[in-house]
Subunit: 120 residues, 2 copies
DNA sequence: CCGTATCCGTTGGGATACTG
DNA sequence: CAGTATCCCAACGGATACGG
């Protein structure tokens, strides 16, 4: 049964993760051992725009889930790293992704069923 | 490391859950053993509008996570129930909510730190 | 390379009023 | 009770161009 606290927790989760790109970004960031540069990240995430990536990274940094490290040696380069607390999210998120992988067929079937039901 | 499949899974998760009200609705539905009527649901979720609730419930039903049972005996009454596949989401979601409860203070502190950093 | 600035169509979602 | 319809504004997010 959900408590008041749980609702606050849900609101926080929505703030942190519930948009189009946060999950893919976090996923792409973890691919390379938790660190990646801006354009590498952009190339790794099909279809994302610079704008969305930048704003999303800002929010993640603002919430302390990732950190931004600037290396001014010669060429400008910026690396984004998943923080400790960011890493602690991997486990529960991976559980969700596993669930999604296991149930994607059922969901798609349910959608088809809904669609054909409305056609009758 | 994230596979192509995982990105598809993430997209599905975003489709299913990544909006303002889905998590609270699912939470409220589970409060009463997985079944609840429309207005009871509305009263249980602080701040939600009829419109948002209705559209969200439609999408959840479309994806097979809940079902809509109409009882036309006398007074019109509609009950929404979490399906089996919907229930299978409880475990991974609760893990996330637990994470959120455990880390909400750290997140808030990180936000404060970011804010004071920009003021300097 | 790493962004920010601007423009702009699309969507989200609250308020309110109305229907079966 | 359980929604649908309408209005309306703010936010999202893609495309493009520009700057450090």
């Amino acid at each position: 049964m959900a408590t008041e606290q749980d609702f606050a927790a849900m609101r926080l989760l929505v703030d942190l993760l519930a948009d189009k790109w946060t999950l893919p970004i976090l996923g792409a960031l973890c691919e390379n051992g938790g660190r990646q540069r801006f354009n590498a990240l952009k190339r790794g995430i099909a279809g994302i725009s610079q704008k969305s990536l930048a704003s999303c990274l800002k929010r993640l940094e603002f919430n302390g889930l990732i950190e931004r490290i600037v290396a001014t040696k010669g060429q400008l380069s910026v690396e984004y790293r998943v923080t400790a607390i960011g890493h602690s999210l991997e486990l529960p998120i991976n559980a969700l992704i596993l669930w999604s992988n296991q149930n994607i067929d059922v969901i798609m079937a349910a959608r088809e069923a809904s669609r054909s039901a409305t056609l009758t």
